[in-house]
Amino acid sequence: MKFQYLKNVVTLAMDQDKCNGCGICTEVCPQQVFTMGDSVSSITDRDACMECGACARNCPPQAIYVRQGVGCAYAVLMDKLNIKGKCCGDACSCSLDNIPDH
């Protein structure tokens, strides 16, 4: 059963010229967004992307861009209202600004 979320919204982008064909994007993506071709990978199901950032983070030549984020309405709301740490008891919530450069 393939779950589908909103269409045409994600920030995923790829520069195929930089791709070295290692295929790690196809391994780490939990949504089967990429397909490996003869020598490079390509985005074949863009709307399935959940912007987890696994692909971009693991791409050695940095051929992939995505604004990494957590698809959680509660976190977005808490961030907008400036209420910290309600979710997992952490000092910060899962909001965009709080994702460190790791």
């Binding site: 589908q4 939990p30 949504q31 957590v70 309405a73 977005v76 790791h102």
Partner: protein, 379 residues
Amino acid sequence: MMSTKHKKLPMVDDLDNKCCQEEQSAVQSEDAANTNWVTGCVETAVGPVYRVSTKLDQKDLLGSFKARWGLDRMNYTIPPGLYAIGDPHSSSPILVSANYKLSFDYLRRELAGLNLWILVLDTNGINVWCAAGKGSFGTAEIVRMVSVTRLSEIVSHRTLILPQLAAPGVAAHKVRSQSRFNVVYGPIRAEDIPAFLKNANKAAPEMRHPYFTLRDRLILTPVELTAMAKPIIILAMLFFLLNLASSLVGSNQLLLPSLIDQTFFDLAPYLAAMFVGIIMVPALLPYIPGRSFAWKGWLLGILWAFVYTFFITSQQGWLAPAAYFLTIPAITAFLGLNFTGSTTYTSLSGVVKEMGIALPLIIGSAGLGVIALIAKYFI
């Protein structure tokens, strides 16, 4: 809390107790010593490493249950460090895990009969996926723990097997350059690990895609129900005050028992609305039309408002339907929207987009609905 150097583990048999009585090595934490899930010690070049059981007992099951209901969940952790499954040696595989005990238990129960190492990171008690998103299950933490546990002195190979869902937080190539250990991404589900290991660390395609079955969806709901405790109490008090005010203002003075009864009656459709938003939306998720979660919640709310207004309540007039059709779907839409944080597939961009549309509508509808609801008590 430090105990004496020669502390004896109560569950360790005579063959093993020598290694555990020796000086605590850097890889171990005191706190793991007296737990139900540690079954002994394994000697390594660096010192003793606790061996953990691959069976979950009553205490573990009770702990899982409490965690699912959000009871003391943030303390449901284990000490970070290196642990052993079975009888691992220097060429045994290394699996990497988070220090949320639920994650750790779900992992170790699949490893019966195997011999391997588990490197537990300090993810502040957060599970793999969320910790990866936040960065605590990250490149830096892996590099740190490899160093702290002196892993390169314990194993002769240089491979770490990570859960695939750690990938958002880990740059495999950076772990390699900073720690000399290669990262291999294992399957999503722990139950696929034995097959993965047998297959020379190659994952079948199905192992790389998460499930989101009915059971998967429902198991995420109890914790949301628990979160309703406070709002329910507040709502009950508000209804009580409304009934009290109505009774004082009107000619029909109600006694306290009737006031309490009436409060329950008034609360009932809203308790049901919470059930619809928290349980029914996740349960029926793939079958409710539309892709937006707020929309799915709103649809079920309209359905319930319809059933309640025209088949259950005996209230007359137009104020009651107005109140219910405006407030109930607003609640269920909001609760449905809230489920986005528990899914395997929602994107931040999508959530932001639907919130931008849904929230103003929810607030507007709820606002009008509350006016109608209050008016109902006095007109």
